[in-house]
């Protein structure tokens, strides 16, 4: 029903906002990644277009990428918390739940379980998207325990290494020595080992990355969602710089992301054997479907 319930009847269309109708007609709902994935961004009606983030915000780019990569946006619910990210996430055409401070993984635990009991035969993707403060500081206990319980949803941490939305305070994910608000003498302890913690807590698919390569970033997002559907908790730790608080000139934002991708955000992908089986199966199926579509196209052209 999910795609049907957002599709208006033809006669009703003229009364609906143009933006909504275009989203149904030209959006990514029900389409494949080749038709409406990150590779074709700008050529289809995207789930997230406008956003109120700062000029040059790398987080806004990555959030757009998340929405363009969703395997099934019409069956997805996102959950977030206070922070810059929610300003953009809430503008996407996917149901978004804005909870209290750092409680996104607790909410997702309840939501995922309730979805499974109400819709045992359907796939409903739940994704929490929160910042480093929401995920690793104020929400730490709820993040960790959702993983320890083996809750089957995807956690994406938008790590800008600072509390951007509240005005640039030091977070647990800020690097040691960083002079930020509330750490006026420089942060005196190490950046939290988020991916190690995720591994210890039982996440079955974990990636740390600086998402500079669109294709690679999209692949990771999809893998995390596919694995969470069947195996267990998955975690993406992505660098999404704050060019304001870290004073990165807008034109240097990409170079900074490349630089950190060689350093503390060096690509690291971990998966359990069970997760690997799912990934190989799903990606194999996708490849076969792509091949079949291509063959059909060729056959059509020949005929």
């Amino acid at each position: 029903m999910s795609l049907a319930y957002i599709t208006p009847s033809e006669r009703f269309k003229k009364y609906l906002p143009k933006d909504y109708v275009e989203l149904i007609d030209f959006g990514p709902f029900g389409k494949t990644q080749e038709e409406a994935g990150p590779g074709n961004m700008g050529q289809f009606k995207e789930l997230m277009e406008e956003h109120p983030m700062c000029s040059g915000c790398w987080m806004a780019y990555y959030i757009r990428l998340i929405f363009a990569s969703l395997p099934c946006p019409e069956e997805t619910v996102t959950i977030g918390t206070a922070g810059c990210g929610r300003l953009a996430i809430s503008q996407a055409a996917v149901p978004f739940i804005y909870g209290n401070y750092g409680d996104q993984n607790a909410m997702a635990s309840g939501l995922t379980r309730a979805f499974r009991l109400r819709f045992p035969d359907k796939t409903k993707d739940v994704i929490t998207i929160a910042g480093d403060g929401g995920t690793m500081d104020i929400g730490f206990s709820m993040t960790m325990h959702s993983w320890i319980r083996g809750e089957r949803f995807t956690t994406i941490m938008l790590d800008n290494e600072v509390y951007g939305n509240t005005g640039g305070q030091s977070s647990g994910m800020s690097p040691k020595g960083a002079v930020l608000k509330m750490a006026p003498m420089g942060k005196d302890f190490e950046k939290m080992p988020a991916t190690d913690l995720a591994k210890a807590a039982g996440c079955v698919y974990i990636v740390r990355m600086s998402p500079t390569n669109i294709k690679a970033a999209a692949k990771v997002i999809r893998r995390a969602i596919f694995v969470a559907r069947e195996v267990g908790p998955t975690f993406i730790h992505a660098y999404t710089s704050c060019n304001i608080e870290y004073s990165i000139p807008t034109e240097d934002v990409f170079a900074d992301a490349i630089e950190l991708g060689k350093g503390r955000f060096k690509f690291d992908e971990y998966m359990t054997d069970e997760a690997k089986i799912v990934i190989e199966r799903v990606e194999g199926e996708e490849k076969a479907a792509r091949k079949a579509r291509k063959a059909a196209k060729v056959a059509e052209a020949v005929n």
């Binding site: 957002i6 989203l23 809430s90 209290n100 409680d103 607790a106 939501l111 309730a114 109400r118 319980r149």
Partner: protein
């Protein structure tokens, strides 16, 4: 075992009015904790989430057993109360019936999430088994934590005994889920005095259950990507600082408190009203809620035996506060005595503000920190107010 493989029991689904008022009942001798879990069993709850704290634990253990027997579809122990209350808010978006319970410090820990439930339009039922708020540490009954709930927006019922605990908990689900209410209902009763003590409870057969949760009958559709209208927001004015966001927030707050007021007609329908009045028009009116009402009831009985002009107002609903009913019940009173199980006297304050002649409301008697409330304490106040000589020494 996953939620999908839970055993399915063959039960008859009925309306709440039939369940509460018509279904044949049998007398049982059980604790308040049992009474609450027996109500949950008959409420057709989809999911319960628990985090232990004395004296609530007993309730949520029993609810766990109810889950194991197949009466509830999903149940788990969460990491702590904030996680519990947040998970309730999350699960609610999927359109299911929910129950949890807590006590004293646990309620305070979960309060950030609980206070957001009405705004999230979460029609869950919350058991509050009262307990002292630390420090110093104590696990004893004291209902100070209810004062912190008064402005949360939730409907609040206060049970006097095991029977009330059963009936109020069951009715709470129907009240919470009314389309014109759709906010949480808290059912409070005193820890230990009620939760761990046995009393007679008339219960209907457990083969009868409240009709299942209807996620469509909601003022705010479930976020399940199934229930229209679609909740796709391309713009989120509430998230921004501008006049529209202030306006939306103020309208939303008004709606929550209007919803709270609209619960009153259902409190009449299911529980016969928010107050119970004995001997209306007496010179002295005892006014109490929860366990204090049981002691006030006993003092009222003593007073009747002695031929004194003493009446009783038992307050069942703390929110919406029965201002009109209390005004009416106290219209002829010369003195109002408000026994309470807390130091601040939150009920006393509410009553004073509700009537035009607040000066007739006597402060106390109050016990706290787990102290019991001897009937003599109340009798002392009655004798003093009537100017009768007595031998009670405090």
């Amino acid at each position: 075992m996953s939620a999908v493989q839970r055993p399915v029991l063959n039960k008859k689904q009925v309306e709440m009015n039939y369940l509460l008022h018509e279904a044949p009942r049998e007398k049982h001798f059980i604790t308040g904790a049992q009474a609450m879990s027996e109500a949950v069993k008959r409420a057709n709850v989809d999911m319960a989430i628990a985090y232990p704290i004395t004296p609530q634990s007993e309730v949520m253990h029993l609810v766990g057993d109810v889950f194991a027997q197949g009466h509830i579809k999903e149940y788990y122990r969460a990491e702590e109360e904030l996680g519990t209350m947040s998970a309730i808010a999350g699960a609610s978006r999927a359109g299911v019936r929910l129950f949890t319970a807590t006590s004293g410090p646990g309620l305070i820990r979960g309060l950030e999430a609980i206070a957001s439930w009405p705004g999230h339009r979460v029609p869950a039922v919350l058991g509050i088994l009262t307990r002292v708020i630390n420090a110093p540490l104590s696990i004893q009954p004291d209902n100070l934590e209810m004062a912190y709930m008064l402005y949360s927006g939730a409907v609040m019922l206060h049970a006097e005994n095991q029977q009330d605990t059963f009936d109020f908990t069951l009715a709470a689900f129907a009240i919470a889920e009314k389309v014109d209410v759709y906010i949480p209902v808290a059912v409070a009763t005193e820890g230990f005095f009620v939760t761990h003590a046995k009393g007679y409870v008339d219960m209907m057969s457990e083969d009868l259950v409240y009709k299942e949760f209807d996620p469509v009958a909601s003022p705010v559709p479930a976020m399940d990507n199934e229930t229209p209208p679609a909740r796709i927001q391309r713009d989120a004015p509430v998230q921004k600082s501008n006049f529209m966001s202030y306006l939306i927030h103020s309208v939303w707050q008004q709606e929550i408190w209007d919803s709270n007021s609209r619960a009153m007609k259902y409190i009449y329908e299911y529980l016969g009203g928010p107050v119970e009045v004995l001997n209306p028009g007496s010179d002295i009116m005892l006014l109490a809620s929860g366990c204090a009402a049981a002691q006030a009831r006993e003092a009222h009985r003593y007073a009747q035996e002695e031929g004194l002009s003493v009446g009783l107002v038992k307050v069942k609903a703390i929110r919406p506060f029965p201002r009109t009913e209390i005004r009416e019940a106290l219209a002829a009173a010369k003195t109002v005595i408000v026994p309470e199980h807390n130091i601040v006297g939150w009920l006393c304050t509410e009553v004073k503000a509700a009537i035009p002649n607040g000066g007739i409301v006597h402060e106390g008697p109050r016990v706290f920190g787990g102290m019991t409330l001897p009937v003599e304490l109340i009798m002392f106040e009655i004798y003093e107010a009537l100017g009768i000589e007595h031998t009670i020494k405090l």
